[in-house]
């Protein structure tokens, strides 16, 4: 299981590097300085703005348990806050941004993990189903992500560990035009 832990170390490192970059560009921009970019008409903007592969310090204590991950062991470790909880999505009702009762347990596990790992950052990604208008759904997705952030903050997670972003209806988890698909798209994903 050495490989898994190294893989996770790399994942943490990458996440930290990326989020450090994100926080830099999003949080400090208060001025309205225009950026003139002489870009060609067809701009390929697929490149992520942040560098990948930057080395950050990794809290190796979180991976102290170097044992095979058996199902029961995983559950115990989740409860102990030693690893990222396996369920990373919570769901919402139509046009609502309220954390449902049955989602609280999932969020509780994340709160526990985050409070035990204060260097860990998480991006709360809000989404909406396709119905209605796109910009309204952007705002709704943000509402949902902020509702999750508030819930986690109440559970003791530091706001500095959390960042909110909304993709509105742009990134459906399930394609389809029925309630089964829509229910799966009204969500917040916790991205480490």
């Amino acid at each position: 299981m050495e490989k898994t832990n190294i893989g996770k170390s790399l994942a943490f490192g990458l996440s930290l590097a990326m989020l450090a970059g994100c926080a830099g560009s999003g949080g400090t921009q208060e001025e309205l300085a225009a950026q003139e970019t002489a870009a060609p008409a067809t701009t390929d903007s697929g490149a992520e703005a942040q560098g990948i592969g930057g080395d950050s310090s990794i809290d190796s204590e979180t991976l102290a348990v170097v044992e095979p991950m058996e199902p029961s062991a995983t559950e115990t470790m989740e409860q102990a806050g030693a690893v990222i909880p396996s369920v990373m999505t919570v769901y919402f009702d139509f046009d609502k941004a309220v954390v449902n009762e049955n989602e609280r347990q999932v969020l509780g596990l994340h709160a526990e993990y985050l409070t035990l790992n204060p260097a860990q950052q998480v991006v709360l990604e809000g989404h909406a189903d396709e119905r209605g208008t796109r910009e309204y759904n952007m705002a709704l997705g943000e509402r949902r992500a902020k509702a999750v952030m508030r819930y986690l903050a109440v559970q003791g997670v530091a706001p500095s560990q959390m960042e909110v972003v909304s993709y509105g209806e742009e990134r459906p988890a399930v394609m389809g035009h029925d309630e089964a698909a829509w229910a799966k798209n009204r969500r917040v994903e916790l991205k480490y």
Partner: protein
């Protein structure tokens, strides 16, 4: 049918078939107007050598038909093929119950040189000529000239300024895999032809908005992973990022004088409407409410901004008067009203409306004076209505089976057609202003 007509029809059909392979958006008329004015559009006589790149008369006929106000006679029913006034026998056209007749001829005096197009419009009942003009065109501009002729004919017969020379912007999403989608912001003629990509991205693009002079487009791009509002010059592709705040940066809307941009930002904790002065980049905040406030649009006189807000529980349309800051609610019918836009005369709004049912999001028209709401579309999951600058037609996004397509409907609801893309889903249409 004479041999000549048959050959002409076949020749033109082949020509048109070859052309339509290059169209990105294809028009499918789903409902025609039974009360449309009958007009005969005779194929323009081609008096040059070799092939002519465009069937000008066909473009004009298609434009007139799409407006919902005209019913062009089908080519196989043409009794004769006049190309100028001296060849016109009004009796032929009265027999066919035509109200109007359009004929023309195209010459190319010098090989590879410009085309000379002559067209004439006749009133069949009164037996008189209404329009006659000779214009020049390069090969590349033939489609544009056909749209110009359509505008002139349309305006002469209806009194309404033609919108056939306008353009539409829209976003296509080509889903390559579960995790990979290619987004393209495109600009095409109002009939969906001559599409050009002005931005390609692996991240979502939203809310294209034309500046009032038609030279710039504002849009929201998620490149870099976070949304920002950009303004791009169409002629050069040069662009400027206007906003980069924490949270939402969305729904850009140009003021009628093109000097300000309304937008939604959540930098102060909550989605609110702001107005940015473009020369100075200074922001003015318009709404102060804990609810979602988004999707602003300016009135034609620049004095009011309408927006979507769920401060009353669910999304409804509100209006803020810029001089005073007073806000009032405009929609009271239905449980979801959003993304409203003014008609060019400022007297009505088009918006997304849901009354009941889980899928029944339609485009509706709200009369601001009578406060009556009228549903315009029969398609479902409709969004993003955009009105032609002459107010005659509107375009919007909808679903056809599993594909996102554009729909268009004349303002009286009589003509409806769809524009599916050959490259995935198409959405977020924005109709340009007049260029002339």
């Amino acid at each position: 049918m004479t041999i000549r007509t048959l050959l002409l029809s076949i020749g033109i059909a082949l020509l048109v078939a070859a052309r339509s392979v290059h169209a990105d958006l294809v028009i499918e008329i789903t409902r025609g107007n039974d009360t449309a004015t009958p007009i005969a559009v005779v194929p323009f006589a081609w008096q040059g050598t070799g092939a002519i790149p465009e069937d000008v008369a066909q473009i004009v006929a298609a434009n007139l038909e799409r407006s919902g106000l005209f019913a062009p006679l089908e080519r196989q029913n043409l009794l004769s093929l006049p190309s100028q006034q001296s060849e016109v026998q009004y009796r032929d056209w009265r027999l066919l119950n035509m109200a109007f007749l359009l004929v023309g001829q195209i010459q190319q005096p010098t090989p590879n040189g410009p085309y000379l197009i002559q067209y004439e419009l006749f009133d069949v009942i009164k037996q008189e000529r209404l329009l006659g003009e000779r214009i020049q065109s390069s090969p590349r501009e033939l489609r544009s000239r056909a749209h110009y002729i359509s505008d002139r004919v349309f305006e002469k017969l209806t009194g309404i300024k033609g919108a056939f020379s306008t353009r539409i912007a829209y976003v296509t999403a080509d889903r390559k895999s579960a995790t990979e989608t290619k987004y393209r912001l495109q600009v095409a003629d109002a009939d969906g032809r001559r599409a050009q990509v002005i931005l390609a991205s692996d991240e979502p693009i939203l809310s294209p908005a034309w500046s009032p002079d038609g030279r710039r487009i504002a849009y929201v791009s998620f490149e870099g992973g976070r949304p920002g509002i950009y303004v791009q010059q169409l002629a050069t592709g040069q662009r400027e990022r206007l906003t980069q705040f924490r949270g939402l940066n969305g729904a850009p809307a140009w003021s009628p004088d093109g000097r300000q941009l309304a937008m939604v930002l959540s930098r102060d904790g909550n989605p609110e409407i702001y107005v940015m002065d473009l020369p100075s980049k200074r922001l003015r905040r318009l709404t102060r409410h804990y609810a979602i406030d988004t999707e602003p649009a300016w009135s034609p006189d620049g004095k009011q901004i309408i927006f979507t807000s769920n401060r009353g529980g669910g999304p409804q349309i509100y209006q803020v008067t810029l001089a005073t800051g007073d806000v009032r609610r405009l929609t009271f019918e239905g449980n979801y009203n959003a993304r409203a836009r003014y008609t060019p005369d400022g007297r009505q709004l088009v918006l997304v409306h849901r009354n009941s049912g889980i899928k029944q999001f339609h485009i509706a028209v709200l009369d601001l004076e009578t406060e009556r709401l009228r549903v315009l579309t029969e398609t479902e999951l409709d969004e993003s209505p955009s009105i032609a600058p002459n107010g005659s037609m509107l375009i919007y996004a909808t679903q056809q089976g599993t594909q996102g397509v554009l729909g268009a409907v004349s303002f009286d609801g009589n003509v409806k057609f769809r524009l599916p893309s050959r490259f995935g889903d198409v959405r977020e249409p924005a109709w340009s202003p007049f260029f002339n």
